[in-house]
């Protein structure tokens, strides 16, 4: 694969998969916090 193709792959992967991972992580964190609030 050419260098430019690799760069575009990385842009897509970081933007889309990285973005998804970030918001999923945030979702899990807030769900945990909500659970703790309900318990206390």
């Amino acid at each position: 694969m050419s260098v430019s193709a690799w760069i575009m792959f990385l842009i897509g992967a970081i933007g889309l998969w990285g973005g998804l991972a970030y918001f999923l992580w945030h979702h899990i964190k807030s769900e945990k916090r909500l659970k703790q609030e309900n318990q206390s």
Binding site: M1, S2, S4, A5, W6, I7, M8, F9, I11, G12, A13, G15, L16, W17, G19, L20, F23, L24, H26, H27, S30, E31
Partner: protein, 493 residues
């Protein structure tokens, strides 16, 4: 009146929303759109379209559903007294979409079965068009119903009917919780296998090498906005209906961002898997990747069987993975397309869920029978073109103009979302919905109309385009007005 359905968990809602957005187009349309519109450079307009149109509309629909807790027609009526017809427009568009969507799922089911022992043989084109579909010579050659197409069509309808009868939490949510992890697992296996095949790098080069000069072409930008718009299941009442089943305390913005990015992440991975295998096929046949690159029905049912034939080993397994992915991704979308129709009919006529499902599924099944005839592929193609390019786009234009300009609800909706969400919506959201989205959608519509009048779609006869295209749009319009009027005279919704 039965109690309103609810999701059993937030994860269930997110999975169902992702399942709805991920559909056939992610696998058979997106890779070709990227390849045709600048390769890797297409990611730039794609990201911009996602952030300025796709996700803003998605979030707007989440807010409408969550705030008004109603089906699309009732939701739009609550926004503005005279806007119920917009909800019905979207619901009837969804109805027509599901009629042909189920036929394609039937084909995918057949091909999952044909994958065992690669029953399509060497001439995959002749197998699909002549042996399987028995495609007629001319447009008006209806022919008879093809049992090879009818039986899988019946099976997918039976399973769908059963899931819809079970309701939102026990049916749709459970189905998505089972199917979505399997679908993602299958795509992962397929992609990993694809990129390890000889010739894969060539295919990926063709897909991802950027042609930045293409970005100067306005059509590339229209393609990016068009693809994002069709890919996210927006403007035909799905997300609005799904979010109406959410509990009061829900982080709407985060859920929308997860659904939007999961859909885009999935299609990005599908593009890598598809072009890696196309690179392998081109290398095996000693031709350029451009010669095997295609989209839609041709990619799935003609080229992909060739890819599977060329596999060094485990051909059948790869076939099952590919057509199983098509089947599952389409299936989770199909149940989501049915839900707004069921919800709309149920609220309008004060029916039980069972009765509404019986009416909607029964009627959609009968209409869908036309796609199981020898001429079915062409009728499906025309209905798909008109419902997507005009029905869905117009539904989006009406919706955005109503909320941003007529009812002026953007501030109120933003406050609603920000009141319950961690990620806050700023003024960028208003700008996208007030200016960018209506202008771009209207531009898209105008360009499609100009193309339509310059040459008949796919060279089909005018009589066929009128009967299956313009008439379907007419039915959507008349149906929307009729159902709205029905309430004023006799309805009790």
């Amino acid at each position: 009146m039965e109690q309103r359905d609810r999701w059993a968990s937030k994860a269930g809602f997110i999975l169902a929303a992702i399942g709805s957005a991920i559909g056939l187009g992610n696998i058979w349309r997106y890779p070709y759109v990227v390849y045709e519109n600048g390769g890797g450079a297409f990611l730039i307009p794609y990201f911009i379209a996602l952030l300025t149109a796709g996700i803003p509309i998605l979030l707007m629909e989440y807010v409408i559903g969550h705030k008004y807790k109603a089906s699309a027609p009732v939701g739009f009526r609550k926004i503005h007294r005279g806007a119920e017809w917009i909800g019905w427009w979207q619901v009837i568009v969804a109805f027509f979409v599901v009629t042909y969507y189920m036929a394609i799922l039937g084909w995918a089911l057949s091909y999952t079965y044909y994958s065992f022992g690669t029953k399509w043989g060497e001439n995959t084109e002749a197998f699909f068009f002549n042996h399987y579909l028995s495609l007629s010579e001319d447009f008006w050659g209806f022919g008879s119903i093809q049992w090879k197409v009818l039986i899988p069509f019946l099976i997918v309808w039976a399973v769908t009917y059963w899931i819809m009868q079970r309701g939102v939490s026990r049916g749709i949510e459970v189905a998505n919780k089972i199917l979505m992890p399997i679908l993602i697992g299958m795509l992962l296996i397929m992609t990993i296998r694809g990129v390890t095949l000889p010739g894969a790098a060539q295919g990926l080069n063709v897909l991802l090498t950027p042609d930045f000069a293409a970005l100067a072409d306005p059509k590339v930008w229209v393609q990016a906005y068009g693809h994002v718009f069709f890919s996210l299941s927006i403007a035909f009442a799905i997300m609005l209906t799904y979010s109406s089943y959410l509990p009061e305390k829900t982080d709407l913005t985060n859920s929308g961002l997860i659904a939007g990015l999961a859909n885009s992440g999935f299609e990005f991975m599908a593009a890598i898997g598809v072009f890696a295998t196309l690179g392998f096929l081109a290398a095996a046949q000693g031709i350029a990747v451009d010669e095997v690159a295609t989209a839609g029905v041709g990619l799935a049912f003609v080229v992909y069987p060739q890819v599977i034939n060329a596999f060094p080993f485990w051909n059948s397994l790869f076939g099952v993975l590919f057509f199983g992915s098509l089947l599952f991704s389409g299936f989770t979308s199909a149940i989501s397309i049915l839900e707004p129709v069921v919800a709309g009919v149920r609220e309008k006529f004060n029916l039980s869920r069972k009765s509404a499902v019986n009416w909607v599924c029964g009627f959609a099944f009968l209409v869908g029978l036309v796609y199981t005839t020898s001429g079915g592929l062409r009728y499906l193609d025309v209905v798909d073109h008109f419902t997507n390019q005009y029905g869905i786009v117009l539904g989006g234009v009406f919706e955005v103009i109503l909320i941003a300009w007529v009812a002026k609800k953007l501030d109120e909706f933003r406050e609603h979302a920000n009141g319950i969400s961690y990620v806050r919506l700023g003024s960028w959201w208003d700008i996208c919905l007030r200016w960018i989205t209506p202008v771009l959608l209207s531009g898209m519509l105008l360009m499609t109309l100009l193309d339509e009048f310059s040459q008949p779609y796919e060279g089909y006869p005018h009589s066929g385009l009128i009967a299956f295209g313009w008439c379907v749009l007419g039915i959507i319009m008349v149906g929307a007005l009729y159902f709205t009027k029905f309430r004023q005279e006799r309805g009790n919704a």
